[in-house]
């Protein structure tokens, strides 16, 4: 039996991958000067309850919603930004007020909020996040978890000044 993958093709593939990786790593910092704002996702604002309180943890916890908030254009991290989070979890439906909470970003523009495990609802395991504080344009996100058994989900905001 002859192998379809010869040493030559393997080498060529390796070189091509390496070249692609180099190009990508070269272009990404160059683009940083023009970091595009995150667009609102379809269905992102569903079951939004404005003014979710800033909490240490939503319910009993066990799941971590993490992420970053940066400014559009220069990509500078934004400190003290309020991110509101809600989802269908093991402790309640999206619509219930106790499924909602908010947190603030730290000096590095990062946020982290513990909440109950997100469970699939309406066909997908997903969360909802909102930036709706007025200094920047409002953004509603509806990220989907790669797997329903994930214990964490990272979500990144790039906000556009009003």
């Amino acid at each position: 039996m002859t192998s379809l993958i010869t040493r030559r093709t393997l080498l060529a593939t390796g070189l091509a991958t390496g070249a692609a990786a180099t190009v990508t790593s070269l272009t990404v910092p160059a683009r940083a000067a023009g970091v595009a704002p995150t667009p609102t996702m379809r269905g992102g604002s569903n079951n939004y309850l404005p003014g979710a309180p800033i909490v240490d943890r939503i319910g009993g916890g066990g799941f971590w919603m993490t992420g970053t908030v940066r400014r559009a254009g220069d990509g500078a991290p934004l400190e003290g930004q309020r991110i509101q989070i809600w989802a269908h979890t093991t402790e309640g439906h999206e619509r219930e007020p106790h499924s909602h909470g908010a947190t603030l970003t730290d000096a590095y523009g990062a946020f982290r909020l513990e909440m109950p495990q997100i469970v699939p609802a309406f066909g997908q395991p997903h969360g909802h996040l909102a930036y709706d504080s007025g200094d920047f344009k409002t953004v509603f996100l509806r990220p989907i978890m790669p797997s329903a058994s994930d214990k964490t989900l990272a979500v990144h905001f790039v906000l556009e000044p009003v």
């Binding site: 379809r42 269905g43 569903n46 439906h93 469970v119 699939p120 609802a121 066909g123 997908q124 509806r142």
Partner: protein, 206 residues
Amino acid sequence: MPKLRSLLIWGAVIACVAVPLIAAAQSPLLEWREPVYITAGFAGIVGLGLMLVQPLLAAGLLPDLSLAKARRLHVFMGAALVLSVLLHVGGLWITSPPDVIDALTFRSPTPFSLWGVIAMWAIFAAALLAGLRRGLKLRVTTWRKVHTGLAAITVSGTAAHALPIEGTMETLSKVVLCIIVVGVTAKVIYDARIWQRRPARKTQTR
């Protein structure tokens, strides 16, 4: 052995509908859902199961059931199917109104909602056509072509709706039921030569 054959066919049909329901009843997701959401989900599974029974009844393929009796049951099951769709959509609406409004207005982030809504309108149209059958004064063959066309959209739309969903249905039983429903529907349509010029070998008039 006509007796055994009949028993096997009925057993298979009942199993096709019952197994996915039993499997879904074991879903861990049920623990975290309200009764109205659970009801909505199961109404959807029942609807999918009825879509297996409908073409079998329409074609008179179920043993020990005359074609006339099967067609009467087809009408009854059609009504049950419409009811299951209403329960499914109504229950989801109560659970999360904005998600259902997004789906109904074709703005949902989930493509499977779109297929579900298309299937819903197709089944409503098929049922309406059945209800107005006498009043419409269509030729039997024309009526049958349109009704069958709507049924085909319903079945394929429902399969496209159900398959990508991560919900209470157990994956294997869901995939198998979808394949069987689509396969049986296609086979019945093909054998009855609904859209061919040549009439079916056994002309079935009501």
